[in-house]
């Protein structure tokens, strides 16, 4: 919290996306790992025991969130699950979407029970981050990117119907996370980014995001999700409850500061999925480069960007990153 308030502290907080990596540490197949909250939590306890991050992260798997709506999942060993195919094949099916009940949906219960376990073990000692799909991105997962782009261009009534559904789900699940002890929500914007949509589409989506975010009872971190944030960061920064941004690895923190000022928290931007390809020396070099760049930034949290750190990443590589952070003298 000192980082959010900007209090002076000679301490560099950090977090890494080790959601999948917990399975690697406890030598679990991914299928039971992403089905059983107790097993998933056992993996995350192994993560905490091994690396001791300042922020722990509840399951990072949007396909499981889509499963709650009826999507079918594919499991591959050593990878997080994916959806088999888009749930919707035409716009008339939007009417038939039934919002999952967090108390009854096994998929949502996986997230919520995992959150309960985190709160029980780490509440008050570590920040608890709960990833949740953005209401503006979720339709792309349910109907496919092409159909959602087409809908945004040519079918405003369908956009309205779809967004009503995804906003209601987002608010219900997001507030459930907060009620159960989440310190903040993490909202990736894989779709709502300039790589995917035009600025005019983005402008159409902003009022929906304002509506959704304003109903959340806690803070929100915008996550790059593998996409660049800076082109739209000023608009995101004006959204209710947004306190932080997790930048993409190629993005400049200095440029982000120029665009949004000094108060909001910046996070990033070690390329998590690429960590498996780095030597220990290279991992250290990149970590130090990021730390030195933000040395005097009171509102900075070191974090991995993009998706999960891969299952086969050597423990020593991750330890090198952690030891480099822990040995770094901030403001020194």
């Amino acid at each position: 919290m000192a980082t959010v308030t900007g209090a002076d502290a000679d301490y560099q907080p950090y977090t890494l996306l080790l959601s999948l990596y917990g399975a690697s540490l406890i030598k679990s197949d991914t299928y039971p790992y992403y089905r059983d909250p107790e097993l998933w939590f056992e993996g995350q306890r192994a993560v905490v025991d091994m690396f001791d991050p300042d922020i722990v992260i509840t399951p990072f798997s949007f396909p499981i969130e889509a499963e709650a709506f009826g999507s079918e999942l594919i499991f591959l060993n050593k990878y997080a699950p994916n959806t088999r195919k888009p749930l919707l094949s035409n716009l008339s099916q939007i009417e038939n979407i039934l919002l999952p009940d967090p108390e009854k949906s096994p998929s949502l219960q996986f997230f919520l029970k995992s959150t309960d376990l985190f709160t029980q073990y780490y509440g008050g000692t570590k920040a608890i981050a709960c990833p949740i799909h953005s209401p503006a991105d979720f339709p792309a997962l349910l109907m496919g990117i092409e159909m959602w782009i087409d809908t945004l261009f040519f079918h405003p009534e369908a956009v309205e119907k779809m967004m009503q559904k995804t906003i209601e789900h987002f608010v219900r699940l997001g507030n459930e996370f907060i009620d159960r002890g989440a310190t903040f929500l993490v909202v990736p914007v894989n779709f709502t980014c300039p790589m995917i949509i035009t600025e005019s589409i983005f402008r159409k989506l902003i009022p929906y995001l304002e509506n959704a975010f304003s109903q959340i009872k806690g803070p929100i971190v915008i996550h790059n999700g593998g996409a660049k944030l800076l082109p739209f960061i000023q608009q995101f920064a004006k959204l209710p409850n947004v306190i932080a941004f997790l930048l993409e690895p190629s993005e400049s923190f200095d440029e982000a500061r120029r665009l949004i000022g000094d108060k909001m928290v910046l996070m990033g931007n070690l390329d998590g999925p690429n960590l498996v390809n780095l030597t220990n020396n290279k991992a250290k070099e990149i970590t130090l480069k990021i730390l030195n760049n933000r040395k005097d930034d009171k509102h900075f949290i070191f974090a991995s960007s993009n998706a999960d750190i891969p299952y086969d990443t050597p423990v020593e590589t991750i330890k090198t990153v952690v030891e480099t952070i822990r040995g770094f003298k901030k403001y020194g």
Binding site: N82, R84, I145
Partner: protein
């Protein structure tokens, strides 16, 4: 209005989401000059320019999607024009295109089809969720030079191995080249070789260059 100004006007309309107006304008100009003239002097140069902008991150996938829709609808109109049909240069070769089995992400594949067609390739698009056997069957039936398979995710990219196995089983490897593409290959380039691909392109705009290179390397 010169061709450059026409290209800019179409680009502006597409950026604003005005697909129908763009197609109508291209059609009006074609009746004033010819479909051949408007395709070769306005639409295709604009698509190439947009492809470059897309590659450099200055345009979004939505821009690509809409320009593809405009091109698709306009090519359909041009297909009925006798002069344009007669003016078509000899095809460079035939590509069997599709999303691999279990893959339902058509956007990249459709853009590849549009850019490759504009570059002179005969495209036979099999759509999404295409079994390996169907790729081979259509390649044999159409004496194809290339099978181009798209997969967005790691889970589905693995299915391309089946296409390679079918090529091997039918003694077609080397004679029919296997091009692979999709987001996962940008993230993990080593996967191209792992799943038996002969090559990949970074974006849809590069696909025709990849096809040219694969055609040159093809066993007779």
């Amino acid at each position: 209005m010169d061709n450059k100004e026409k290209q800019e006007l179409i680009a502006t309309l597409i950026s604003e989401g005005e697909k129908d107006k763009a197609v109508q304008l291209l059609s009006d100009w074609s009746y004033q000059s010819s479909f051949k003239d408007i395709i070769f002097s306005v639409l295709e140069p604009m698509l190439v320019e947009w492809g470059k902008l897309w590659m450099s991150g200055k345009l979004s996938l939505a821009h690509g999607y809409l320009s593809g829709k405009v091109a698709e609808e306009f090519y359909l109109l041009a297909a009925n024009d006798t002069e344009f049909k007669n003016s078509k240069v000899k095809s460079k070769g035939t590509v069997i295109l599709g999303n691999v089995e279990d893959d339902y992400h058509p956007l990249g594949r459709r853009l590849v089809g549009i850019y490759a067609q504009a570059a002179g390739w005969e495209i036979i698009d099999l759509g999404t969720d295409v079994p390996a056997e169907l790729f081979i069957e259509k390649a044999i039936e159409n004496k194809a030079d290339i099978i181009a398979v798209s997969a967005m995710m790691f889970t589905t990219a693995k299915n391309i191995i089946k296409v390679r196995h079918e090529l091997d089983a039918n003694a077609l490897s080397g004679k029919v080249k296997l091009a692979v593409g999709g987001a996962i290959f940008k993230l993990r380039p080593e996967l191209v070789a792992e799943i038996g691909g002969d090559g990949t392109a970074e974006t849809a705009i590069n696909a025709p260059d990849l096809f040219d290179a694969l055609l040159k390397s093809k066993a007779i």
